[in-house]
């Protein structure tokens, strides 16, 4: 028992959808509801419920760094909120052994009217640090945030980058036994994100227990010693990181089989990111070619099936699309499972976060058999190239090698702007 930091037993959390849609009641509604139910004898309205978390049990050992992964609505944040004691579970129990620091957001409690210095103390206290502890770490925090010159300026005058850096710096200096972190690594610019990841590395190596949520599979593989996979509120697996990540990224296969069996139509089973040699990749460099492995199934023989993919930017903008018909590649017109591979040449996309959308359709009727948007999310890192030396300064999504020339302007007698009286 003593080597366990967090024990979760049959934890469940129910939200009623009514609460989400109508965020609060009014006395009138309650009174009216009371009158209705008392005098009219109509059956009480069936409120729609969602189990955000459903019978989840797991143990987290002391010193483990656990990545909590799963798609949107899988229950990751709900689990963190319960373990952080922000909300109570509907059923089940959890036991936490040790001092917990939880970081569900950076800059919680920052007040815009207060100065950087004041906010460091306020935020530190909110995160559970003692005043002496904050005072001791004050200089480190300021140095980490790189805001020394503005430390006595109200944070409402800070740029958003400075604000986030200061907020993260306070949080990064929290030293609890057990650290619970929600997706906070996705803040700030790319350079600062690297710094944050470095800080997380330090925390992970210091022997503390860490439970963190991220969609960044590279970060999970780099930092975590084990992973927990949630799907629609249920725990579907836990253990070594790589298999869990693979299962998450290929998480559609089970559903894909089921849909294929039910509809008899072609379905995507799984997809994952690959590097130039075809091996599963975590976070390729944008200077290298990379691609996607796509497994799909034709439950029955069918001709004219096409597979296509689209790369979307983090905000959903379509960057480009491509399909098997681009290269007149035909999907075999027979029942079975097939692997498609598509490669994207290096030096085309800028570093950043992207989503992959996949589609299987019928070329003659245009019917869509399966559309997965996004099928997976991935990130590219800047590779060594003179073009990217300025790092994140580059805007847009693509790198187009443009031709530039420069010559002295040819003198135009009437239109010259230089040397006119």
């Amino acid at each position: 028992m003593s080597d366990i930091a967090i024990r979760v037993e049959h934890l469940a959390k129910r939200y009623s959808i009514g609460e989400a849609v109508v965020p609060y009641n009014t006395l009138r509604d309650t009174v009216a509801g009371f009158v209705r139910s008392t005098f009219r004898r109509t059956p009480s309205e069936q409120r729609a419920h969602v189990w955000a978390l459903d019978d989840v049990s797991c143990d987290i050992k002391r010193g483990e760094v656990v990545g909590l992964i799963g798609g949107n609505g899988a229950g990751k944040s709900t689990l963190l909120k319960i373990l952080s004691r922000i909300t109570s579970p509907t059923r089940g129990r959890a036991r936490i052994m040790g001092r917990v620091g939880s970081l569900l957001e950076v800059g919680t409690g920052f007040h815009p009217e207060l100065t950087g210095r004041e906010n460091i103390f306020l935020n530190g206290a909110i995160l559970g640090m003692a005043r002496r502890e904050i005072a001791r770490k004050f200089d480190d925090i300021v140095a980490f945030a790189e805001v020394d010159r503005f430390i006595d300026t109200a944070v409402k005058y800070y740029s958003s980058g400075m604000y986030v850096r200061l907020a993260f710096a306070v949080a990064a200096h929290l030293e609890p036994e057990i650290l619970i972190v929600d997706e906070v690594l996705s803040v700030g610019d790319a350079r600062f994100q690297q710094k944050c990841l470095g800080k997380m590395d330090d925390v992970a190596k210091s022997g503390r227990t860490v439970l963190f949520v991220t969609h960044n599979m590279a970060a999970v593989q780099r930092l975590a010693t084990s992973a927990i996979l949630l799907e629609r509120g249920r725990l579907v697996g836990s253990g070594a990181v790589r298999p869990m990540v693979a299962r998450y990224l290929g998480g559609h296969s089970h559903a894909g089989y089921e849909a294929a069996r039910r509809t008899g139509k072609p379905q995507v089973l799984e997809s994952y990111l690959i590097d130039q040699s075809g091996q599963p990749a975590a976070r390729p460099l944008n200077t290298d070619a990379f691609g996607f492995h796509i497994r799909f199934v034709l439950p029955e023989a069918r001709s004219g099936v096409r597979v296509g993919m689209g790369v979307l930017a983090a905000d959903g903008t379509v960057v480009f699309t491509s399909g098997t018909d681009d290269v007149s590649l035909d999907v075999p017109a027979e029942a079975g499972e097939f692997d498609a591979r598509v490669m994207v040449p290096g030096d085309t996309l800028l570093a950043g976060d992207y989503h992959l959308a996949l589609c299987v359709w019928d070329s003659s009727s245009g019917d869509i058999f399966d559309l997965q948007e996004p099928a997976l999310s991935f990130s590219l890192e800047y590779g060594p190239s003179i073009v990217y030396n300025r790092g994140d300064d580059r805007k847009g999504f693509v790198n187009i090698p443009c031709a530039w020339t420069m010559t002295p302007a040819a003198p135009a007698p009437s239109a010259s702007l230089i040397g006119q009286p």
Partner: protein, 282 residues
Amino acid sequence: MSADARAAAADLVVDIEAQGDGLRRLNLREVWVYRELLYFLAWRDVKVRYKQTVLGAAWAILQPVMTMGIFALFLGKLARVPSDGLPYPLFSFAGLVPWTYFATAVTGGSLSIVGSQQLISKVYFPRLLIPLAAAVTPLVDFAISMGTLMVLLWWYHVVPGAAIVWVPLLVLLALATAFAVSLWLSTLTVTYRDVRHIVPFFMQFWMFATPVAYPASLVPAQWRVLYGLNPMAGVVEGFRWALVGGPAPGPIILASTAVVAVLLVTGLVFFRRAEGTFADLI
């Protein structure tokens, strides 16, 4: 981490369960552990309150002084409300000082939970600190208006007697009342946003039921006990007696204390029962 810190951490076991009953969760020791945060929350509110105001903390003097001016003109001069033989401006100001504190604390306290939405949905700390900070913060303004009251006493050549030693206890009673009422109102506001519209009326009504602008001696003797059920009646009457003179509040203060004790205990239980769902409802 030092060895003793490690030992302390190893001792710390937190059990998270589906909502338990209110009394068992009344973990006041934890509030003590988080006392520094209480200080910071109050400190933040004090710092922020008068930022970007031209007059700043002078508002803490101006507000009760202006109210006193209005009372003195309309109630003292025109309506000739009796004042237990004291100069009416002094009489009403001595009542306004504790009342203004109370009204500010309750108004702020009732909105405190809803106003702390950001914190509540992202960080854990004993939620009791929020209404507690809201009740403590206006004590700063209270201290400033106490200074004003001292000036007024000097102006009217009134020297407080030995009864002044009761002032801290009366302030504590006012704080307890404000905190207890805030516990109820802030919790109700989370579920029923109507409460925020009711509070101003409620406070106005409450002021008329409190001897701020008139002496408690105006209330017929057979109604005094009922009147004493208003805890602020005891506080205001006692406060005036302790500083300015006039009749001692007598058994009213005992009734007030008893009511506050009941309000406080029930408020704590009510608040604790509800706090687990604050993050879901806000």
